[in-house]
Point group: C2
Chain length 115, copies 2
């Protein structure tokens, strides 16, 4: 059993060319002993986003706070607190804070995708 306090996992700026006002906190990682998946908490300000990108692993997402839009090559989806999303492997995608307040969502990936 391992407890990860939010106070010990501060969010760090996402280092991706083109990213705007988006941060990530690594909440559960392989270094914590996770056998299968890693959990990250993304935060963005109004209008904030990473960059459109794709990779060969999926995202399993849960929105904690705020409102966002998932923009994918297969369409857009607006989401809010309590909603979930699945981004498929190799699917081009981006997340935009489309609300007026901070957006926070959990993003789970296989350990191989926790980069």
């Amino acid at each position: 059993m391992k407890y990860m306090s939010k106070n010990d996992r501060p969010a760090q700026p996402v280092k991706m060319e083109g990213a705007v006002d988006v941060r990530v906190a690594k909440m559960v990682a392989e270094a914590d002993g996770a056998p299968t998946s890693a959990m990250r908490l993304f935060e963005s300000g109004r209008g904030g986003h990473p960059r459109g990108h794709a990779h060969d692993w999926e995202h399993v997402i849960f929105c904690v706070e705020g409102n966002g839009t998932l923009k994918s090559e297969n369409g857009d989806a607006d989401f809010g607190p309590g909603d979930a999303l699945l981004v498929d492997p190799d699917e081009e995608h981006n997340f935009v804070n489309s609300g007026e307040t901070p957006l926070r969502f959990i993003c789970v990936v296989p350990l191989s995708g926790d980069k």
Copy 2:
């Protein structure tokens, strides 16, 4: 890409002998196309809990709302909104709503553990 609205995933009572005032909503499952992990949202009322149990898969947890206590064979951990927990495979554990308000947390498991 798949969008799962909270409105389409109502919580259902946890069917486990000894469980008290605890419900689960399956937010992302194998049936949704998830390749690796499933995501469930647990909710419990004041004092609510499932039952102490163990299984050969892990839990990756994020607290969305309320306050709880993870009781494991390796010690207890109090947690609140924004905190994360890892329960190891084969570790006996239980979750108790130790606050005064509803407790809601995300629990991620490998697909094989989404029962």
